[in-house]
């Protein structure tokens, strides 16, 4: 599957103008890293409040599937949430982030998806209802695998927790948009009959698909995130990536 990177409009503009996604200092791993998610646009750019303007609207970058070959690390879930102890209701204190590393082996990613979610479609939807009992797919003595599956199957999850079941990919080097970017999902207020924003037009000239979504006054960030998630799903389906 492609990799996704979500950013607020203000940041997205910088990314497009610079033509690359630069690693930033990461408090979790204490080194500069650029964060992506495998397939799903799981990252949230804002809280629950109403989106105020184009600068705070979410943009989604979709990168070629082979981008994962450049990964410095791949983890089974969002390490930021782990670092913030959001998984402590299931995972033990003694468990470390790297216990859930898939190393840099891209084939392990799909093996994990098929083992746990059964198919890419279920993974994309974050559909945990089809995940088997821990003992069905992991040995009883494999504590980490058991804990991971229990975490995914834990009751009381909500929309914001979909980061739990999204595979995280980090790059240690800048990722150029040129030749790697497949599509970008943008708000229509920056791309319509009166406004064709130059910096988006530059990307489009390079053959990147521009997928505008309808910006409606007063909506909260979750609304736009759901629109982006569905549009990317539709995009993958059309290209038989899912």
């Amino acid at each position: 599957m492609p990799l996704t990177h979500i950013a607020k409009g203000l940041i997205a503009k910088d990314i497009i103008r610079e033509g690359k996604i630069e690693p930033k200092d990461c408090p979790v791993f204490a080194r500069p890293l650029a964060y992506f998610f495998y397939g799903r646009p799981a990252y949230r750019v804002a809280g629950d409040g109403a989106i105020r303007d184009a600068a705070t609207c979410p943009f989604a970058f979709i990168f070629e599937p082979n981008t994962i070959e450049r990964a410095q690390a791949i983890h089974a879930f969002d390490t930021g949430a782990f670092h913030n102890r959001m998984y402590n209701h299931v995972l033990m204190e003694e468990m470390q982030i790297d216990d859930f590393s898939l190393e840099r082996e891209s084939r392990r990613v799909n093996r994990l998806v098929y083992c746990v979610f059964r198919n890419l479609s279920n993974y994309y939807d974050g559909d945990t209802s089809k995940i088997p009992e821990p003992n069905q797919i992991a040995a009883k003595g494999d504590f980490l695998a058991q804990a991971y599956i229990k975490l995914l199957r834990a009751e009381g999850r909500n929309e914001a927790d979909d980061r739990i079941c999204t595979i995280e990919v980090t790059l240690g080097e800048p990722l150029s948009l040129d030749g790697n970017l497949m599509a970008i999902v943008v708000p229509d207020m920056l791309w319509n009959d009166s406004e064709k924003t130059n910096w988006i037009a530059e990307v489009e000239k390079g053959g990147v698909d521009i997928l505008p979504y309808r910006f409606s006054i007063g909506r909260e960030s979750g609304h736009y995130h759901a629109l982006i998630e569905q549009e990317i799903r539709h995009y993958y389906t059309k290209r038989e990536l899912i």
Partner: protein, 383 residues
Amino acid sequence: MKSAGGDLRIIGVLRYVDFVPAFGLPVACNEDGQSLWIQVRQEHSQIISGFESLEKTAIDALDLADGPPVAVGGRYIHAFIGRNDQLYLDTIESLASFLGVTLNRVSTPLVTKLAICEQLGDITGERTFREKLTRDLAQSLGLASARAYKNSAIRARFWEILGRASVSAEAYERVQTRRSRLLASIDDAGEITLDASAIDLNDVRLPISEIASQLASEFQDASSDRPRLPRVDLSSARNLLNPTALAVISAVELSPRQEERVALLMRSVMVYPTVGAEAIHQYRDQAAFANKALEYLRQRLKMEQASESERGLILARAVPRLYTDSYPLQRGKLLYYLSVHLRDFPEIRDAILTALDRSTARDVEMYREDIERVLGRHSVSRN
């Protein structure tokens, strides 16, 4: 959302876009001038449910000396920046005439026209301008962009309808939480595909087939030259899931057409039995047909504790009477509004179709296709 505390007043506007005319974001301030706030609306409503703080660093110029006051429970204040950069701050009802003029100007950007129609609840206008924008995107960016854009619009509308049709506050929350898995798309041929398998369909009071029909009426075939009919609905009623009769009446009064006001009051009887009947007994209209229709309905709605089916039958029997009592040149509009607001109740839907089939009125002919589409006589595919 935070509590603003104290009296708030609009003191300036943030621009969403660089062009005009366009809507902006009104910014409010406390009396002490120390904190900035933006209004938060209830979903699908014009009522202010709270305020969210805004960092001062995000503001460029705030210098309005006499901006209107805003408060929780009050009407949302919109900001509209006119073509000469003049600023208009008012409720959507007060801005409606001015926005209507802006809507009719050729030079107004399509995206602004679409935003105006969205805020006015003019679904026909939304459809027209959405189609134009989609064509514009298809020409300038290609079909993939146009398709993505139209799909984003139909998805937002699908979620909106599901949210409005939720049977309880808990059901509404479940719809909101699962939006990303409530799928909707429309292909180049206009075929609509829906998938609501992520929720329990008992959580919504409309069957998916009805929702599909409604979406088809809004998203298929925008080439019609029939006059655009403005539309409002009960969603602007304060405390949508459990409104008072006064809140229902306030929502009904937003409609500029008496035929729609009658249809909305009939819907309120179906959706909120006690409150709806109370609203019909309390409400007095300025227009002759509406008052005559309501007088008739008051006589028929004396039965308390009637089931939904019984209420449906009472209102279904009223349809031919209302048709006869309406002005001959407004009968098409009456059936159209009855269709839009009461299509989800089988007995009433059948009565509207019967009246439609029997009619040869010119006004009805003008809206016949729209009415049939709203009532689901045209099939759409769905999952």
